[in-house]
């Protein structure tokens, strides 16, 4: 009997390869390629007066230098605005190479191609660009004051203003028994995957084919964009995503300037060209996220029930807005978490600044939204002198209320309707896990020893598995091996494992016989991409459906061969047999042979499928509406997203003298529906929590007022090491299946990061006794807050 693999914490099949250094990342490829390097703007805002390349021409090994003037046709136009929205009235996107003006430090101005990267950089250093600097707009305050403009034709630096409202929140708040106002801020941070961006292109002059390898989260997106920019038929462009050393959102932006310029140069030069981003470039030329300022008014009753919530916020999206309004829309909607606001109004401005663009970074607007909502919950509890967990409980959507319609529009353009969840049970589990009700005595015992402890908790709901669709393809080869393909990409999530687990169960084959390919347009041409915790939900479901189609075909062919009813057959360990009669077994490989009527045999097994060996002469060899081979292809396209949820509780200790913040315990209750592989889900939570700790205590983008990023290296941009992550992340699962897909699953990739800043802020606040309203927080900032709040403690 084949063991059921779905739901089992099996080891990741990709780890052996990746951990032994056998991964193939972008820079491992294309050793014969020419290298591209870029002259990037040293100024946050400037006009380009002159570009003098003469000094670079003598560099030995120089192949070509390109500026905006050299770009033909569509390549000379701005890069696409990927996600238009009716309220995005002033959308501006960058050029592949700057056209007369630069709007952030790091913007590409000149591309150099040379024999190798060293020589390319030598040439880059010798190119003189004369700039006339313009006033830089840095930070939300400068952007909304709009004393200076990033784009002359964008008044107020406002790309979009958007309002969503359910009920008359302002009137409700005015009439509420209690009201509070809060100003809450989150700083900029960034995905910072260890592998930066990179692209390699090979042009085949004879066949007119372009092959591109790129470190992306969407190979089909890059393919479509390159075909459009280079005026190539889509069918002549292949995009392959090799192993990717982390994405976390930044690599969903496409096409990057380099992703269109490198293929263009490869075609022009008739030689392969490669660009591998270095660390500093990644800091100043890729994407950031998170910076938002929120002004909140809330009205509530004596029992701590929300009556109305009015949120006004400002989102800093950087110099351009290619990815549209996704991040602030997510904040607007996901801010509500597991709660019923009753009346809600949210309004945001998305603002231009002379800084790096925004891409959704793991969590994507939710860490900010959850920070806002959970700070509001804690403020209400403080105001009413109520238990913080109790206030939350009183506002939960109840299990009986699903599907729950918030009356808002979500980031996918669909109504914000929660499909399932059980928030009261999650909270009970979390309180038990962390010892919430007993913490008072723990805190007090520590206080007696002169130690300062605090506890905090934060809840979130995360819309995962957004559409429009993904597809899956399953083929059983005559060897009996199963090859699976899906179009979305992988950047370390363990897709090869979980998709194989799904197929193993559907087809009854050993997992070792299954190979999964992702992100290769040659294998699967229709796909969206890997973001929004959607891969398991979307491709997992599509692959399950494709495997079911293949199974149907297997049973049909096997039934013919075994002269049995398909209904009576089962597939076990790669053999089809009549249920309960193992002697009748026929190998899957044989079924595959028989499914493809042959004229010419090619080995012993295939003789069985040749025209004198098999076939019913009363029928055509391939039935009408049938196809040769054992294949299944299907797509999954749900009506809407599925909503995962979770709650984190944190215990911190703050040093009374140095204000150092130490995490003593970190507890997670997580509900992503049915689990495919608990080990992988826990790994995702561990990684997410680590990133959440980074976002809460360490990571920030230190721009000075002239728009220079002063911590553009891992010397100065702090990332948590294993030493900063709690040694044990305590996890409890709850499995509330989603009714929206065949597997009952919800996304899990981003969850761990989402409530980190909120929970840690709450714990610090509990330890210190004064409000924490801005994150991240450093020991010196906490120290300053202590001085500021002297005598002010509650």
């Amino acid at each position: 009997m084949t063991t059921k693999l779905f739901g089992e914490p099996i080891k990741r099949v990709e780890d052996h390869r990746l951990l032994l250094g056998h991964g193939g990342y972008l820079d491992d490829l294309g050793h014969d390629a020419l290298a591209a390097a870029y002259v990037r703007s040293p100024h946050a805002h400037a006009r380009i007066l002159d570009i003098d390349v003469s000094g670079a021409l003598e560099v030995d090994g120089l192949v070509a230098i390109y500026t905006h003037e050299d770009l033909p046709g569509a390549l000379a136009e701005p890069l696409p605005l990927l996600i238009p929205h009716p309220t995005l009235t002033h959308g501006r996107t960058p050029y592949a190479l700057a056209n007369c003006e630069v709007n952030h430090v790091g913007e590409a101005v000149v591309m150099v191609v040379a024999r190798d990267r060293y020589l390319a950089e030598d040439a880059v250093e010798r190119i003189l660009v004369e700039y006339e600097t313009l006033p830089a707009v840095v930070g939300i305050e400068a952007a909304r004051t709009a004393e200076h403009l990033v784009h002359d034709d964008v008044p107020g630096n406002i790309a979009a203003n958007m309002v969503q409202e359910v009920g008359d929140a302002r009137a409700v708040i005015d009439a509420a028994p209690h009201t509070l106002e809060l100003e809450l801020q989150i700083e900029r941070s960034a995905s910072t995957p260890l592998e930066g961006r990179g692209v390699l292109a090979r042009w085949d002059t004879e066949s007119g084919r372009m092959r591109i390898w790129t470190s992306t989260q969407t190979s089909t997106g890059v393919r479509a964009a390159v075909a459009a920019k280079l005026d190539l038929p889509l069918m002549n462009v292949d995009v392959i995503t090799p192993d990717v050393g982390g994405g976390f959102g930044v690599k969903i932006v496409h096409p990057w300037p380099e992703e269109v310029l490198v293929p263009w140069a490869a075609r022009l030069l008739g030689q392969p060209v490669k660009f591998t981003e270095d660390r500093r470039e990644h800091f100043v030329a890729s994407a950031h996220e998170r910076a938002q300022l929120h002004h909140v008014r809330v009205g509530f009753d004596d029992d701590g029930r929300l009556l109305g919530l009015d949120v006004r916020f400002w989102h800093d999206h950087g110099a351009y807005i290619p990815y549209g309004l996704i991040v602030p829309i997510i904040t607007s909607t996901q801010l509500l978490g597991p709660y019923k606001p009753r009346a809600y109004r949210v309004e945001f401005d998305s603002l231009y600044t002379n800084t790096v663009i925004v891409a959704p970074y793991r969590g994507a607007g939710r860490p900010q939204g959850v920070f806002v909502m959970e700070r509001v919950m804690d403020a209400m509890a403080r105001d009413l002198k109520m238990d913080r967990a109790l206030v939350r409980e009183r506002n939960f959507i109840q299990p009986s209320e699903f599907p729950y319609d918030h009356g808002l529009i979500f980031q996918d353009g669909r109504p914000l309707i929660y499909d399932s969840g059980d928030y009261p049970t999650s909270l009970q589990k979390l309180k038990k896990l962390v010892g919430w009700d007993e913490f008072g005595s723990v805190r007090e015992a520590a206080r007696v020893e002169g130690r300062r402890l605090g506890i905090g908790l934060a809840c979130y709901v995360e819309g995962t598995g957004v559409g429009p669709y993904e597809g899956g393809h399953v083929i059983v080869e005559t060897s009996g091996k199963v090859k699976v393909a899906t179009g979305l990409t992988t950047q370390g999530q363990g897709h090869q494992t979980v998709f194989a687990q799904i197929v193993a169960d559907e087809l009854g084959v050993p997992i070792d016989d299954i190979e999964v390919v992702t992100g290769d347009t040659r294998r699967f041409g229709y796909a969206v991409g890997t973001f929004a915790s959607r891969a398991a939900v979307m491709s997992g479901s599509a692959i399950a459906l494709a495997a079911r189609a293949a199974r149907k075909k297997i049973l049909k062919v096997a039934a013919d061969a075994l002269e049995a009813d398909p209904e009576d057959l089962e597939i076990v360990d790669g053999f089809v047999r009549v249920a309960g009669a193992p002697a009748s077994a026929i190998a899957l490989g044989t079924v595959a042979v028989l499914s493809n009527p042959l004229r010419y045999s090619f080995d012993e097994a295939s003789k069985a499928a040749t025209q004198f060996a098999s076939g019913d002469s009363s029928k055509p060899p391939v039935d009408q509406d049938d196809e040769p081979g054992i294949e299944g292809r299907d797509y999954f396209s749900p009506m809407q997203s599925t909503f995962a949820s979770g709650m984190h509780a944190v215990v911190v200790e703050t040093d009374p003298d140095t204000a150092e913040i130490k995490i003593l315990r970190y507890c997670v209750v997580h509900d992503c529906g049915t689990l495919i592989n608990p080990r992988i889900v826990e790994g995702q939570i561990h990684g997410g929590v680590a990133q959440g700790v980074g976002g809460a205590l360490y990571e920030r983008m230190a721009y000075d007022e002239s728009g220079q990023l002063q911590n553009a290296s891992f010397m100065d941009f702090l990332m948590p090491y294993v030493s900063e992550i709690p040694a044990a992340i305590e996890i409890d699962h709850l499995e509330t299946p989603s009714p929206l897909n065949p597997l009952g699953i919800k996304g899990a990739g981003e969850a761990g990061v989402i409530p980190g800043a909120a929970a840690i802020a709450a714990a610090i606040e509990d330890a210190e006794g004064f409000p924490i309203t801005a994150m991240p927080i450093s020991p010196s900032e906490l120290f300053e807050l202590r001085r500021h709040n002297e005598g002010n403690r509650t």
Binding site: V105, R280, F283, S706, N711
Partner: protein
């Protein structure tokens, strides 16, 4: 970035002003300065080799002077750019005759540093800038007090162009020597003096 500091030069203000007016002095006292050229009234161009931490490179710069009050103060506006980055700065330099034969020089610089040097070398910049400025004023002081041995052939064949002698005191200490900001701060002072002197 703001950098300010002061130096004591062992000569009366008038002599200090004159020394700072002499491009030949400047080219050999500005740390990392390889070439200095008058491009017009109140304007110079120069080439400086500088490094902040591991980020070294050659910067081409321009300097313009204004608000000169001989021999008391001036404002220098300088900008430079090179492979590793860019810098632009406004430096206010003041000379005060101490009455004992020495002159107290103070400078206040407001600098915008861009490019790689800004992102990677930022936290060392102001320290290195101050140190480089200190080295410059020490070198000028050595000139004034006659400690420095004047190397021969410090002018080029082109009038108004000054080239540093093969081994300037500034070129031995690669690590600290050539902070671009420091160089410009120093250079500012020097050039201001130089320009004022020439116009008199």
């Amino acid at each position: 970035m703001k950098v300010s500091g002061e130096a004591t030069l062992h000569a009366p203000a008038e002599r200090v002003w004159d020394a700072l007016n002499d491009p030949a002095v400047l080219v050999r006292t500005i740390p990392g300065c390889e070439r200095l050229e008058a491009t017009g009234p109140d304007a110079y161009s120069m080439v400086v080799t500088a490094g902040v931490a591991s980020i070294k490179g050659t910067y081409a710069g321009k300097v313009a002077l204004s608000e000169q009050e001989v021999p008391h103060s001036f404002l220098m506006t300088a900008s430079g750019s090179g492979g590793p980055g860019t810098v632009s700065t406004d430096v206010r330099v003041t000379l005060t005759d101490s009455g004992d034969g020495s002159t107290r020089l103070t400078y206040d610089a407001e600098a915008v540093v861009g490019g790689m040097v800004a992102g990677v070398g930022q936290r060392m910049l102001s320290a290195v800038a101050k140190k480089t400025a200190g080295e410059f004023f020490a070198a000028v002081d050595d000139e004034l007090s006659g400690k420095a041995v004047e190397p021969a052939a410090e002018t080029s064949e082109v009038p108004g162009v000054f080239v540093a002698p093969p081994s300037t005191p500034a070129s031995n200490d690669g690590f600290v020597r050539g902070i671009v900001v420091g160089a410009l701060v120093a250079l500012g002072g020097v050039l201001v003096g130089g320009l004022l002197g020439r116009r008199r």
